[in-house]
Amino acid sequence: MGKLIMWNLMTLDGYFEGTKKWDLDFHTEVWGDELEQVSLEQLNQCNSLVFGRVTYEGMAAYWTTAKDEQVEIADFMNKIPKIVISKTLTKADWNNTRLVKDNIEGEVAKLKQSVKDSYIFGSAELSVTLMKLGLIDEYRICVVPVVLGGGTPLFKPNSEQVKLQLLSTQVLKNGGIILRYASNANN
């Protein structure tokens, strides 16, 4: 059965973006050959990417116009099956994207019938919903050696306590570390 995996870069103080929307400058601290390799491996093994509206819109705008050294990942991102979960969005034009408005549990259950895993990036609001429903099987967080001093927290308050099981750690040469955890529901 495929898993639903949260994959994010997070600063030491717990932010996934700076104080402005899409301020991801801190990614440059850890981005490089190793992280690119990790990303490509994940995308190669991926069934679908799952997004909330805000992340979907930003990613669609970014990857449909990316050039040069990012062309390989952009090609993947544009081709890969994607799901955007939003009650307000009326259409989803990014190539190979399906818009889901309700029955999140049923949609995620369908994804998990695949042998391949699906990934959710960014999408902090949607992540809260999925966490509350107990639908995230694995948390894969790259901790970036930076304190930003402000921004949007990756994990929003008011959710249930979630016990995790450490699966592995991977230290990157530039000081990032990828922590992988299984959520207890799936143990």
Binding site: D13, V146, V147, P153, E160, Q161, V162, K163, L164, V171
Partner: protein, 186 residues
């Protein structure tokens, strides 16, 4: 010029950055880690709340038959080390080798750094945050516990300045706690 003393901090934190000390996995491996940390320290700095919490527990833990060997080892070292509690209101302390200071934390740390000795260690999160705001922490260990608590106090509350760090090394405990050891870039 001789090198100044370092200011260090080691703390338990959840993956989502909270410091609720009731949710972590406290075992002998964790106690042994904190005991070893104290080898490099000869001054501990506290705020009042943490100080009083520690003062009510560790002096007894040293001889408590319920304590594990690891807890006793930690208690012995912890109780013996010199401690300062920064408070405007505290009247007295009964914890061994401790004294109350009314003076400004930052000024005091700048003075202590110039004196000979081993590392100075923040013992409270409030002390850590104040020293982070003044860029006075040199080295830290975050013991990341495998849990998302999603509530409580955040480790970096009130730290609004950007800081770059260098990952020195990491360690994984059997419990799934991952120790992230960083030096702060100045």
């Amino acid at each position: 010029m001789t090198a100044e003393r370092k200011v260090t901090f080691a703390v338990n934190v959840t993956l989502d950055g909270y410091t609720d000390h009731t949710v972590g996995i406290v075992d002998n491996e964790l106690h042994d880690f904190f005991t070893r940390q104290l080898d490099d320290v000869d001054m501990l700095l506290f705020g009042r709340v943490t100080f009083q919490m520690m003062e009510s527990y560790w002096p007894h833990a040293e001889s408590d038959p319920e304590s594990t060997g690891s807890e006793k080892m930690f208690a012995q070292k912890f109780n013996a080390l010199p401690k300062i509690v920064f408070s405007q209101t505290l009247q007295k302390t009964e914890w061994n080798n401790s004294r109350i200071m009314r003076s400004n934390l930052v000024e005091e740390v700048l003075k202590l750094k110039k004196q000979p000795g081993k590392d100075i260690s923040a013992g409270s999160i409030s002390i850590f945050q104040e020293l982070m705001r003044h860029n006075l922490i040199d080295e830290c260990w975050f013991l990341v516990h495998p849990v998302l608590t999603q509530k409580g106090k955040r480790l970096f509350d009130g730290v609004a300045n950007a800081i770059n760090l260098t990952l020195v090394d990491t360690k994984t405990f059997a419990s799934g706690v991952v120790v992230l050891h960083y030096e702060l870039k100045k």
